[in-house]
Structure formats: C-alpha cells, structure tokens
C-alpha cells in the first residue's frame, strides 16, 4: 500500500501520457514539479482549437477534480458579479431559444416577404430583414435551434467517446493505454477543420454530419483530460483504500473515480461548447451546413456577406451574436476559475 503524493504522481504518471505533443510538456512537468500547471496545456490542447483558450484548458486540466462542492460554494459570490450574471443570463436565453424559439418571436423564419426586402433594424424587425424579406431576428432564434443542438451533439460525442477512451486508458495502463493514446495522437496531428471537411464529405452536408465531424474533432481533449484525472484519482488514498477493502474496479469507477474526475471535464465541456459553435459556424460558412431554408448561425452570416456594403446588418448582427455567445461562455468559465483559485 503506497501513499503516493500528488507531485510524485505527476512525475511518474504524466510522462506515460507522452505523445508527439505532450512528451516535452510532460517532461517539463516532471522536472518542474513545483509548477505542474505548466505541463498541462498540452494535455488538453489540440491543433486548431478554434476558440476556447488553451490556458483555460490548462486550468481545467490542472485543477484537481471534485470541485463541485467548491463550485456551489462560490456560486453565491459569483452572483454579484454583473458581467458574469449577464453572461449566464445571455447563455440561458440562447439555450431556451434553441429549444423554444417561438417564445421570443411570433414570426415564421421561412416566410418570405419580397416587399419588406432588406429593411434595416427597427422595433418591428430587431435584426432587420434579409434579401427575401425574412425577419432576421426570427431566423437567428431558429438558427439557435440548429447550432446549439449541433454543438450539444458534438459535445455529447466528444464526451462519451472521450470519457470512455480516457477511463479505459487511465485504468488499464501499459500497452493498451499506450495504444489508445497513440490513436488520440494521430487525431491531434490532423487539424480539426481538415478532418471535419473530410468527414463531412463522407457523410454529406447537414447539421448532424457537421456535428459528428466536430464532435470527433474535439474528442481528443476529453480523452486526455479524463485520462489525466483518472490517473490522479486512482492513486488518491481513499480510492486505494476502497480498492484494498475489496471493492471491484467498476464499483470504484462509479463511486469514486468518475465523480471526482468530472469537474475538469465539465469545465472543458463548457469551453468546448464555444469551440464547437465556432467550428460549426465555420463549416456552415464554407457551405456544409443545414439544408435551406433552415439556417445555422454561420449560414446566416455567410448569406449576408454579399450585402456587407449596402446592408451590413444582414451579416454583422448575426456575427456579433455568435461572438457574444462564445465570449459569454469563455467569460463564465474564466470567472469560475478565478474564483476557484
């Protein structure tokens, strides 16, 4: 029965996570044990991370797990931060609109009105109208439906596969661990957008293929984060005690490892929602999104680009809306992290 301490764990276990990208970082961690955080960025990093900040992933990875209690405790102090509250409210609004867009508009997103073509923003049309006279505010809200759902599907795929790979890898160790992590490495080497392009070509255009492509693309970060957490939790005294007490691995996994690992994974999930949204927008911009008349956010921005000079709102307002969503997500996680420190 060992009673290994965390720094040592970092020194011996993290190098096993070695990969093309992580090896050097892990080595740095091994050497600079006093600053384990410096090793972490790569653990969660991946090429072409469209939006979420690496440093935030870094924090997500380096935070010891099981912070849900802490989160709840800090919720009250966070509630008085106006920026944070605003961001949370905005995200809440977007999520609600994604599932019930009818709550915020009475119009039909697909109904054309040639007479009201290219009206500028007004009380009647908050975001103005597009080249076919459709209300852009309404189209934006119905776009949330597609984009948010696509982001959730992508995230679901990334979390399920990532979690499974990470747990398997972390628990099994040895050859199997190395094999799984090599697979993740290979995926890291192919830029997400390129991989997504190839997958979308294979599966065809549409919201679901785009979501699957993005999900597969952002999966490695989850696998790595989960694995790192499992490795850490596995050697915690109470887990070892529980194992010594005769509990089976599945039981330990469910009662100790997963609950204690999910904190960082959850923070990563919030961040990667922003990444997923940006990737989905990029792929719709390149023309691989939902079939018209449905329009994801990226499609709306891209559809308006021919009117940038003459009717800038058609493209700019949806663009700013997307930026506001991603910024809010980034702000929420960053604020939580700062509180946590």
């Amino acid at each position: 029965m060992t009673t290994s301490v965390v720094p040592e764990t970092t020194g011996t276990e993290a190098p096993a996570a070695a990969s093309a990208a992580a090896a050097a970082a892990a080595a740095a961690a091994a050497a600079a044990a006093a600053a384990p955080a410096t090793a972490a960025p790569v653990a969660g990093a991946k090429p072409g991370a469209g939006g979420a900040l690496l440093s935030e992933r870094l924090i997500a990875d380096s935070e010891p797990g099981g912070r849900w209690v802490g989160l709840r405790a800090t919720a009250r102090t966070l509630a008085v931060k106006p920026g944070f509250v605003l961001a949370v409210l905005f995200i809440a609004f977007v999520v609600v609109s994604a599932f019930a867009p009818g709550l915020f508009t009475s119009r039909d997103p697909y109904s054309t009105a040639p007479a009201e073509r290219m009206d500028s923003p007004s009380l009647n049309h908050l975001f103005g109208t597009d080249e076919l006279g459709r209300d852009l505010w309404t189209r934006m809200l119905y776009g949330s439906q597609l984009t948010i759902k696509a982001a959730l599907i992508a995230l679901g795929i990334a979390i399920v596969i990532g979690l499974a790979l990470g747990v398997l890898s972390g628990l099994s160790g040895g050859f199997f661990d190395a094999l799984l992590m090599r697979i993740v490495d290979v995926q890291l080497a192919i830029p997400v957008l390129l991989l997504s392009l190839a997958i979308v070509t294979a599966l065809g255009f549409g919201t679901v293929p785009v979501a699957i492509a993005v999900g597969v693309g952002i999966m490695p970060a989850f696998a790595r984060t989960t694995r790192a957490e499992v490795l850490r939790v596995k050697t915690l005294p109470f887990v070892e005690a529980s194992r010594a007490g005769g509990a089976s691995w599945p039981r330990v996994l469910l009662t100790h490892v997963l609950p204690n690992s999910c904190g960082p994974v959850a923070v990563l999930a919030v961040l990667d929602t922003g990444v997923a949204i940006l990737y989905i927008a990029s792929l719709s911009f390149l023309g691989f999104g939902a079939a018209p008349p449905q329009a994801e956010w990226g499609t709306l921005i891209s559809a308006g680009r021919n009117y940038l000079v003459t009717a800038p709102w058609v493209s700019l307002l949806p663009g700013l809306f997307v930026a506001a969503v991603v910024l809010s997500l980034n702000h929420i996680s960053k604020t939580i992290q700062e509180r946590e420190r």
Binding site: T112, V309, T310
Partner: protein, 550 residues
Amino acid sequence: MSRRGIAATALAVTAALGLTACGSSDDEGGANTTAAEPVAGGTLKVAFFPDNPQFTCLDPFQTYWIEHRTVIRNVADSLTDQDPKTGEIKPWLAKSWEVSADGKEYTFHLRDGVTFSDGTKLDAAAVKANFDGAQGVVKETGGTAYGASYILGLDHSEVVDPLTVKVVFSAPNSSFLQASSTTNLAIISPDSYKKTAKERCLGQYVGSGAFTLESYKPNELTVLQKRPGYTWGSALSKNTGEAHLDRVEFSYVAEDSVRTGNLVSGAIDISWPRSPITVEDRELIKKSGGVIESRSLPGVASAYYPNASAGHVLSDLKVRQALYKGIDLATYAKTSFGDDYPVVGGAFDNTTPFYASQASKLAYDPDGAIKLLEEAGWKPGEGGYRYKDGKRLTIVFPTSSLSVSSELIQDQLKKVGIELKLDVHPPAELPALYKNGAYDLASSYFTRADPGALQFLLDPKYANSKALATNAAAPETTAKIQALFAKARETTDDAVRKQAYADLQALLIDEGVVFPQYERVQFAGVSKDVHGFAFTSESFLKLNDVWKQQ
C-alpha cells in the same frame, strides 16, 4: 442552300431577334461610347467567378463555362462571326462560304495571310486538322465532350485547295453555320492537336486571335498579351487590327461582394459575375462612376428539369402543370434581381434566335395550382402541405450552393401545399444523384446562340447528363422533342425551321419538360476608365475595341 439561303436564314433570325435582343440593357447606363480617340496600351484587369473546380480546361472544344469562353474568344478566331444585334452570321476567318442544296456540305473560303501566333499558316489543312481533332476528342470521351453537340452528324472534312475547306455531314445540320462562329469551334494550330486533350486544357495551344495566352494558372490568373501584327478582326468590331490593350489579366474571385468592392475601389476594371449582380451592388457601382453592362445570355434559360420517370411525383402531368402555376416568376425576378429585370418566358433566354415566348402559360395562378393538385388527388394535411395515400407532396431538388433565391420559390410552392426540398450537395456529387434518379427536379442552363443548345441537356444521345435527359420526359415526349430538333436541323427551309422551334418551345411547356426559373442576364460592372466594351453574340466579352483611359 446557297449564299442566298444564308441571307434568308439571317433574315429569319433577325426577325426572331428583332423584338428581344438586348432588351434589358437599355436603361442600365449604356456603354461608354468611344467618343474619344482610343488610347493604346495598358493592362485591363477583369475579375471572374471562380474557375471550374471539377474540370480545369481552356481548350476551345472542351470548355463550356462562360468565363473561359470569353478568354478563348480573344485568343482564337472562328471561321465566322455572329452579329449580336441581328444574329446574322458574318465572315471572319472565312471570307465567304456555300452550303449545298441538301444542307450536308459546307464549303468555306478562307482569308489569305492569316497566321497562328506561332507563325504557322492558318490554311485549309489547319482547319481540317481542327475538325479531325474535334472528332478525335468526341470519340475519346464517348461523346461527352462539350463540343460534340456543335458538330452533330459531322462525317469528315476535306481540303479542296490551300484556302478552301469542305465540311461534310452525314445528315443536314442547319445549326452548323452558327456553330462555326462559336468559341467551341475556334480554330487552333494543327500542332495544338498533336498535344493531348489534357495538355490543351492547360492552355498548351495557339490560336490566331488578337491576343495570345501568356499564362494560365487555374483559378488564379490568366494573362493575355496583345498579338502584334494582327489584321484579321471580324468586321463586327470597329477595330479589326491590333488590340488597343497591351495586356489583359483575368483573376478569379469567389465572393460577389469582393468583386464589386474591387471594382469600386479601383483594384480591377471589369467585374464579371456568374449570377446577376444584385440591385444593391449595381447601385454601388453606378455611384462610384462605373457603368453596368448587361445582355441576356442566349441559349437555355436557368431552369428546372423534372424527373418524370415512374414512381416520382412529377410523373403526373397535373402536378407538373400545378408547378408552373405555383411559381411566381415575376416576383422571383423582381426580388432576386431588381424591378427592371426581365421575366423569363420559356425554355430559352430572349436573345436566343427563334425565341418564342411562352409567358402566357407561365403566369402565376395559385388557385389554378390548387385546383390541379386537388384533381390529381393531393389533399391538404399537416403543416400546410398536401398528401396522397399518407405521403407528403415533396419535390426533392438536389443543388449545390450556387442556386439563387431558391428559398423564395420554396416558400411560394409551400403556399399551394408543395414541399420543395432543397438538398445541398458538393457539385461533384450531383451527377451521381442524377444517375441514380434520386431527385425530382434538377437545374441546369447552357449558353449558345442557337436553340440547338437544348440538345446538350435534353437529348439523351448528346446530353451532358444522360440521366437528366432521359428522366425529363416520358419516352414518347422525348421522341417528339428529338423529332422537332431533327426537323429543325435537317431542313433547308427557314420557315420550317422556325416552325419546328416554335412547336418545340410550346411542347416543352405544355408537356411540363422545362420549368424556367430566370432569364440569365450577363452583367458586367465596368470602370469609367474603360471604353469600347462589347458583348459577343453569346454575351461573352470581346476585347478588340476595348481601351483604357491612361
């Protein structure tokens, strides 16, 4: 048919064109008339829509997209030229010609002293080499080469004397004379035909045009240079000698707004879009002092072609007729392209010779559409759509992202209970979809100043997509269409030809074979410093008269 016969043809064409030619360009600002004396020199910068991503080609015979046909027009000359105003065929490389009484033999008398830019002589042997080469390409590609429909029935060609060449057909081909004026049968040097079809596609050929091809970087930059010593321009240009411009650069820009922005900010001289320039951008260009030029592209209008094969909703003539009544073409044209935009009036654009408007049959009549659908057994149901035997009235339209304002038509059809499903695919996937019959509507268009252009789409024997052609109509209707084309092609009597094409245009709408979407107007945004702008009869850009204010 002799020269007199040709004159008669020209007259008939003139009559057909009289009402419609250039109908849309009058109020768009007009050309920068060359009041001032042309200035020689300078580089003209033209921005095109992107190069064909699926098929890189600059070979006259194999190229079908309009941008490269503009490039070819200025690099290689043709035997004849066609007057954009009247549709008349005029001398060019051939100073005269005769057509035999049975319409099977065309004899061209070539102009003396013409050379290709590599110095070799353009003589009867060179022309023969071109026809032989074209036949070779047709064989090599199994008839799919684009130029194939221009030489239908070509048997062989022969050198009569150094400046006389005879082209012999196995069956009469009355549209061949027009074909001889097109870029597709532009004459290139015999050496060019010693290269492979692929090498020619990459620009490895020489013509006798007022410009020579300096370089072709696909989808990046195509550069032309003035050909010194050029003296054989067609009489349709003011300037039949050396070009005014030293150099022409064609770049490829994907974004319409960027092309317009480049023109307005002075980075380019001519903006040449694929789809019509939006009303907003037209205003912007005019405000910057530029000029909007426009002319309908002759040939097949932008239209939908049904899959009328068994098991598809459009196999029912009533549903097809309801489709005409359910689409508001006038509102579509106005909303998509502006108040003064012409409304499409049939399978062809209005600059096509022998054009006969079918507008009365294409009027918007939602009540009539509903009545027809009711008769056909489609009853209203959930979501405002119509249903029969529990199946929704859904029309699947696979498209690439190019399609203009399809969502407007989608919304119009929804009002009569038809669901138009826009199915977006990469362009490269569309042929496979057509082949598998996994569609109800397909859209296409094709530019050629002759109704024969439609054979490239609708005659299964010559069509670019055999599946699209086969599915578009029931076999007996297809037979009728082929018979009318044959009748028009194989006659030497212009009245018969005119009647055949009129019958054809009526048939196409009556039987629901073609669903016109919009008249294809070629717009060009032209900087105020550019003078002498001119469209060819096929609405391509002709550079002989163009000069730039220095």
